[in-house]
C-alpha cells in the first residue's frame, strides 16, 4: 500500500534531517522524501500533516505490562495499544510479573503476544531468580530469547555481590543493569519524608534511601567498568551523584518520569492514592533538580514507569494502596507542556530523551527518517490543546493523577511494522 504524509516538519537528529517535506511510505518502507504529487494516491491514503512534527518513533524504556500474572490490570496487547495511543512505537517491559521474567519461556510468551502489534516490545529480564536477590537469573539464556537489559525493578538488587556479578555477567552481552534505587532498610513509608509527611501523619521514605543505592551502583559501575542505568531518578542528591559520575567517565545513565519533574509531595495532601508511587513524589527542590538534570544531559531520557492498578486496589487506605500510576498516554503531552512550551527543552531534545537515548541505552537500532528505512515514526502536533480523559484510555487501568488535566501537544499518529495508528484506530498500510 502507498500512503502519503503531507508537509510535515521532518526531525531526525540521527540522520541530521530537519526540513519540511512530504513522505511517501510504500508497504511500510520510506519510499520517497520531498515534494510529492498527491494525484497518484487514493484520497483515503493522503494525510494532511501540515505543521506537524514527524520524528523517529518514540520509545518508553520503563513500562509494566503486568502479563503474565495480572492480566486484570494490563496485558501485553492493551499495554501496546496504550503505547500507540501515547505516541510510542517501542517499549521495554519490566520483569516484576508473576512469574517474573527470569526464564526464556516468559520472554517468549511476551514476545509471542506482542508479535503482530504495531508496537515493538523489548522485555527486561530479572537480575535474580524471582527477583529475590539471591541467585542470578539465567542472563545469557534471557539475552538469547530477547531480553535487552536486566533489573529487579520494584526493589534494588539486594546485595552488592549479586549486583557485581550481574553487572559483569550481563556486561558480556553489553546489556545494562536497570536499577530501582531504594535501600530496603529505609523504605518503610508511603510518601516522601518531609514536613508534608509529618503534617499528614504518613510514614516517609527519605531521599537518602535512593541516594545510597545510586552511590553504591555508581561505585560498582566504576569498579567493574560496566553500565548502570538509574530508573525513575527522583532526588536532587542522586542527580548530583549521576552528574559527578558522568564527569568522571563512569558508565551511568538515568531516566526520570513525567510525574517526578511535574508534581511535588504537596499533591499528597488530599490523600488521593493516585499520588502514591515509588519513588514517591518529592520536594520542589528535587523537581527543579530533575528539570536541571534533563537540561544539562545528566538525565538521558524520560520514561513513564507505567504501572497499571485496578480501581479497587487504588481506592483504599493510603498506606495500603499499591504504588504507581499509568503514564503511557500522558507522557508526551506532559513533556511538551511542562518542558517544551516552558522553554526548558526543544522538540529536538525531546526526540533524544523519548526516542534516541532510550534505544541507545538498550542497544536497539534507532529508526531513521530516510529512504529505504522501515517507517517507524511518530507524528506530533505540539500545538493541539486537549484534556486528559481516562475514560477513553487504551490501558486496562485508570490510575493516573493527570485525569482532566489540560495539556498542549500530543501524538496524532504512529507508524511501525506496516501499521498505522491514527484517529483512534489501527490499520495496515
Amino acid at each position: 500500500m502507498d500512503i502519503l504524509l503531507k508537509s510535515m516538519n521532518l526531525l531526525d537528529p540521527g540522520s541530521k534531517v530537519n526540513e519540511v517535506a512530504d513522505l511517501h511510505i510504500k508497504n511500510g518502507v520510506i519510499h520517497k522524501i520531498g515534494d510529492i504529487d498527491s494525484s497518484e494516491f487514493d484520497e483515503e491514503n493522503i494525510f494532511e500533516f501540515s505543521g506537524k512534527y514527524c520524528v523517529p518513533g518514540l520509545f518508553d524504556m520503563h513500562v509494566h505490562l503486568r502479563e503474565p500474572g495480572r492480566e486484570d490490570k494490563e496485558t501485553v496487547v492493551t499495554g501496546c495499544n496504550s503505547s500507540a495511543a501515547g505516541g510510542f512505537t517501542g517499549i521495554a517491559c519490566m520483569p516484576n510479573t508473576t512469574p517474573a521474567i527470569d526464564s526464556a519461556e516468559v520472554v517468549n510468551l511476551i514476545l509471542q503476544k506482542a508479535k503482530d502489534h504495531l508496537v515493538d516490545v523489548y522485555p527486561v529480564g530479572a537480575v535474580s531468580l524471582e527477583r529475590k536477590g539471591e541467585a542470578l537469573a539465567p542472563i545469557a539464556e534471557l539475552v538469547e530469547a530477547g531480553a535487552v537489559a536486566f533489573s529487579d525493578d520494584g526493589v534494588a538488587v539486594k546485595t552488592s555481590a549479586i549486583l557485581r556479578n550481574a553487572m559483569e555477567y550481563a556486561g558480556m552481552y553489553n546489556a545494562p543493569i536497570i536499577e530501582h534505587c531504594e535501600d530496603p532498610s529505609l523504605d518503610d513509608g508511603a510518601m516522601n519524608e518531609s514536613f508534608v509527611s509529618t503534617q499528614l501523619g504518613l510514614p516517609g521514605i527519605p531521599t537518602v534511601a535512593e541516594d545510597i543505592i545510586v552511590a553504591r551502583d555508581i561505585l560498582m559501575a566504576e569498579y567493574t567498568g560496566q553500565r548502570i542505568h538509574i530508573a525513575h531518578i527522583s532526588s536532587k542528591n542522586s542527580i548530583n551523584l549521576v552528574r559527578e559520575a558522568k564527569a568522571k567517565g563512569i558508565k551511568v545513565t538515568a531516566e526520570i518520569t513525567p510525574h517526578h519533574f511535574t508534581l511535588t509531595d504537596d499533591s499528597v495532601k488530599t490523600y488521593d492514592t493516585n499520588y502514591k508511587m515509588n519513588p514517591p513524589l518529592r520536594s520542589n527542590e528535587d523537581v527543579k533538580a530533575g528539570i536541571e538534570g534533563l537540561k544539562d544531559g545528566t538525565i538521558d531520557c524520560i520514561a513513564s514507569d507505567h504501572a497499571p492498578h485496578k480501581v479497587e486496589e487504588k481506592e483504599r487506605e493510603f498506606i495500603y494502596a499499591p504504588n504507581g500510576i499509568t503514564g503511557l498516554e500522558t507522557q508526551l503531552g506532559i513533556t511538551l507542556n511542562e518542558l517544551v512550551h516552558k522553554g526548558i527543552l526543544s522538540i529536538e531534545d525531546v526526540v533524544y530523551k523519548l526516542s534516541v537515548n532510550p534505544r541507545k541505552i538498550l542497544n536497539i537500532p534507532v529508526p531513521g527518517i530516510k529512504v529505504g528505512e522501515n517507517a517507524n515514526l511518530t507524528i506530533i502536533d505540539d500545538k493541539e490543546i486537549w484534556t486528559v480523559d481516562l475514560s477513553k484510555t487504551k490501558s486496562k487501568s485508570k490510575n493516573s493523577p493527570f485525569d482532566k488535566r489540560l495539556l498542549t501537544g500530543k501524538a496524532i499518529a504512529v507508524i511501525n511494522n506496516k501499521q498505522m495508528f491514527c484517529d483512534n484506530e489501527f490499520k495496515q498500510i
Binding site: 514536613f195 509529618t198 493510603f318 498506606i319 495500603y320
Partner: protein, 306 residues
Amino acid sequence: MPLSSKHLLGLQGVPAEDIQLILDTATTFREVLDRPIKKVPTLQGKTIVNLFFENSTRTRISFELAQKRLSADTVNFTTSSSSTKKGETFKDTVRNIEAMKIDMIIVRHESAGVPQYLTQISEANIINAGDGRHEHPTQALLDMYSIKEKTGDLKGLKVCIVGDIAHSRVALSNIYGLISMGAKVSLCGPSTMMPMGIENLGVKIYHNIEKAIHENDVLNVLRIQLERKAGTTIPSVREYHNYFGITSERIERFNRDILILHPGPINRGVELSSEVADGPYQIILDQVTNGVAIRMAVLYLLGTRP
C-alpha cells in the same frame, strides 16, 4: 453559633472559636456526668457507628458512653468482626454501613487520611478517633479541657509534649489545638522520635527532660510503644526511662508546680514512674472523665448542626 465544619477530622486549621465552643459545651456536659441520672435526650433518634479498624479500648468506650448519655443509637464495628478480612474492600464496607442510614461515623484507623477519605464516600458526619500517626482531635480537646480546668486559661501557658512525637497521633492534634488557643508548645524526646520539620509548626524542641520540666507549666506525656522493635528508635526502655522518664525526684527538683497529663495507657516505669502516675501532679483520671464530656460536646455540636 454552630461549628464551622460538618466533620471533625483534626485540629489543623480549626478556628479558635470552634475549639472554644467545644470546650464551653463540654463544661455543660461535664456537669451532667455528676448527676445521679447521667442521661440527656439530645441525640435521640440519631444513629452513630463506631468504626474501629484498630484496637482501642478507652477511646471506643469513651465515645460509646458519650453516645449513650446523649441517647443516640449506636453500633460498633471492629475489624475482628468485620468483613474486610473476607476480602471486601474498605470502600464497600463503608458503603454498606452507609446504606443502613446512619448519621455519624466515629472512625479509628491505622492509615492516616481515612477520615478524610470517608467524607468523600459517606454523607454522615465523620469524627476522627485517631488516624495513623496523623491526628486524634478529641484526645487533644480533652487534654486542653483538663488543663484549662486546672489552670483556668490556656493563653500563654507553656505546654511540653514528651515522648515519641513521630509515631503519635496525639502530638499533632495537641500542637495545632494548643497553639490556636494561645499556648506555647514545646516537644521533648530523643531526636529519633521527632518527625521531619516539626519545628516548622512553631514548637521548641528539648532533648533534656529536666530542662523541659523546669521551663514548662504542663507536661503531656505520651506512651512509649513497647511493641516497637527494641533498639531501633531508642536503645532500650531502660535508657529511655533514665534519660526521658518523669520521676518524683525530677519534678521535686525542677518544678513542683508542674501539671502532668498522659493519654493512657501508661507504661509505669517507662515514661512515668509509678509514684508520678499516682502522685499529686497528675490529672490522668480527670482526663478520662473529661473525655466523655468532650465527646458528648463534639457529638452534640455536630449532631445538631443545622
